[in-house]
């Protein structure tokens, strides 16, 4: 009989209110939206988008003060950490969320959807991501993951009358739940071996050589597989094309950027804080995921005729690039640090360029009524501005200098090449080949938009709503700025998760 846990009087946990201020602000906005919806019903609906947008901007204020303050804050016995890494990622999430709201504004009004609930769910999902960025504990990681996923399942199925949307929702939900189950099993194994859920303590337990390494391996494999689903890495990508196609396009943009980034955040936190020591287990795993994702994603993307499906496969390929630095991150501490900044850089730039591409797709698809690539032919004739913007985003995705995507890819190659591992060089070669393949299909779209004859008779200039213009402006600005002044982004993404010298 063990009675080593003495019963003490309950003590209120000390909470650093400044550290959780962004979460509280966001939550309050969500509650406010719900209340207004209850009280005013459809009278309040036109203001919901603006209100949630403002809410996100308001959330950025405490984020800024935290960034200026700059101290690392540890809450709840290490389960929740607010450091530079989490602040940068929270900022990325908020910006992505803001752009998605700009994209949604007109789309959701027009399409017979529930409006206030849509923004409520979007904010809830964003809340999950913000929580994910700070979670350093298996339980909070899992709660955050569910909090960001469940609203996403619902939003994917938001077009109730469209069977494709229903199919997408069901597929995403079933696959997501399956992945969660696998991941939870992995987490339970990790907890069983280490006896703790806090990631840094799991690391200590690994250091101390507790438990069986084979069980630990199994746990890590399952957890990584669960998040590989979230970031849609091959072979866990099968849901992506159908879900991207069926979901309302702003939701697709949200999934392809924010949801993916959240999966990466969790993966990074787990690997760098939790199992960094066991690099011999996760490095090969990541290597395979990266190589497969890049190759399969790009090859399949070549054959797509629907632009949203193409973006889905391009997203899979980009995941491969993003995850690649992790494959050598365990080589040495400095490589690990470089890999981390490379991934965060890539995430920030990818968010801007991918959201921008989706903004153009949403606008053009509204005009043409179709998401087939052929329907975008000759877009230059009726939407010159959009065509230019799209070209910028596409070439940035392909990694052409001097755009943001180039710098992101450059960082990845730098980490792979300087690691000094044969496997790293090999992966760099794979990545290089894939960059060329990717350029081909990105350029095809651009060529069609510029050079082909428009399929439509109506050549009046397309009408772009103010919110879409601002969304495009933000994305173009970030993409160009990070390409031309890469040191800017590098300054922000020089973050570290590794407790060096321990």
């Amino acid at each position: 009989m063990s009675t080593n846990l003495l019963i003490v009087a309950f003590e209120r946990p000390a909470i650093d209110w400044h550290a959780v201020a962004p979460e509280i602000v966001l939550l309050s906005v969500g509650v406010l939206i719900t209340l207004l919806d209850i009280l005013f019903l459809e009278k309040a609906r036109p203001y919901m988008a603006a209100l949630s947008g403002l809410g996100i901007l308001a959330t950025a204020i405490p984020l800024l003060t935290l960034g200026i303050d700059g101290t690392e804050r540890v809450l709840f016995d290490g389960a929740y950490v607010v450091d530079n890494f989490s602040l940068v990622l929270k900022a990325i999430f908020l910006l992505a969320g803001y752009v998605v709201i700009l994209l949604s504004t007109n789309y959701i009004v027009d399409g017979d959807y529930w409006e206030s609930e849509y923004y409520g769910l979007l904010l809830a999902s964003l809340m999950g991501m913000i929580m994910m960025a700070s979670s350093r504990d298996l339980i909070s990681v899992f709660v955050a993951l569910e909090l960001l996923s469940i609203p996403a399942y619902l939003m994917v199925a938001w077009r109730k009358r469209d069977p494709k949307s229903n199919e997408a929702g069901l597929k995403y939900y079933l696959m997501g739940v399956f992945a969660s189950a696998v991941m939870l099993y992995g987490m339970s194994l990790l907890f069983g071996v280490s006896g703790t859920t806090v990631l840094s303590e799991i690391a200590d337990s690994i250091d101390a050589g507790n438990g069986s390494s084979s069980v630990m391996t199994l746990g890590i494999v399952f957890v990584v597989a669960g998040f590989a689903f979230k970031v849609s890495a091959v072979p866990f990508h099968t849901w992506a094309p159908d879900v991207y196609e069926g979901a309302p396009t702003p939701v697709t943009a949200f999934l392809s950027v924010a949801s993916k980034a959240a999966g990466f955040v969790a993966l990074l936190a787990l690997i760098f804080v939790g199992f960094y020591e066991l690099s011999n287990i996760w490095e090969p795993l990541i290597w395979i995921l990266a190589a497969l994702s890049m190759t399969v994603g790009n090859l399949v993307a070549l054959r797509q005729t629907n632009i949203v499906r193409l973006m889905a496969y391009s997203g899979v390929a980009q995941t491969g690039f993003m995850i690649a630095p992790l494959a050598v991150a365990g080589h040495s501490l400095s490589t690990g640090n470089q890999a981390l900044s490379a991934i965060v850089t890539y995430l920030a730039i990818y968010a801007a360029m991918n959201l921008g591409a989706f903004a153009v797709i949403i606008t053009l698809a509204r005009r043409t009524g179709s998401a087939e690539i052929d329907s975008f032919s000759g877009a230059f004739h009726f939407a010159p501005g959009l065509t230019v913007a799209m070209t910028i985003f596409l070439f940035s995705l392909a990694g052409i200098p001097p755009l943001g995507g180039w710098f992101a890819k450059f960082e990845v190659f730098r980490v792979l090449a300087t690691s000094g591992e044969t496997w790293g060089y090999l992966l760099a070669v794979v990545a290089a080949i894939n960059s060329v393949i990717a350029l081909f299909y990105y350029a095809t779209i651009a060529r069609k938009m510029w050079a082909d004859d428009p399929s439509e008779k109506d050549l009046n200039n397309i009408e772009v709503t103010p919110s879409l213009v601002s969304a495009l402006a933000i994305c173009v600005l970030v993409t160009l700025l990070f390409g031309i002044f890469p040191q800017l982004v590098a300054r922000f993404t020089e973050v570290s998760l590794l407790a060096f010298g321990v």
């Binding site: 063990s2 069986s212 069980v215 199994l218």
Partner: protein
Amino acid sequence: METVVFLISAAVILSGALGVIFSKNPVHSALFMVQTLFGVAVLFVLLEATFLAAIQVIVYAGAIVILFVFVITLLGVDRAEDLKVEPISGQRPLAVVLGASIFGIILTVLIVAVGGPTGEQVANTPIGDASDNTKILGEALFSTHVFSVELTALLLTVAVVGAVVLSTRPTKPLISTLDKQQNDNLEDELEEKGEE
């Protein structure tokens, strides 16, 4: 004594789990699931986690699975279905092979695990005194994990909102922006109807 209880409940759990998969009738599957959950509850009691055991029965058996049964019987999908159709040929044997191999890997790993499958604690160490575990759990939830607990509340609210939204059609936009004209007409008609 403990071993005997463990073996019996393990048999109950595993046979229940197999029953869930192999029953042709969904209601029977649900009942086998209850059996499995009960077995797990017994294991919790064995580990002196009596609170968890009670909650396991109340929440899972009493709320979740009964809702499964509720939906199954209400929708009338409670007859055995023909599962012989195979949309992609070779899918089923492949699934069996993959499933069996994953099972094999897990089993092997757990058996050959050096130094026992678990590290810090032995698998059957109670977390504390049985009469106090409600207290221990409560304190853990509302101190270390309070943030997760609070956000779980948000999660559940979101799930409820989502379920309601997905199960009902939007009332207003049916007639909103697309054709305001028709909407106005309808409302006029409504008023006329009211006057009549």
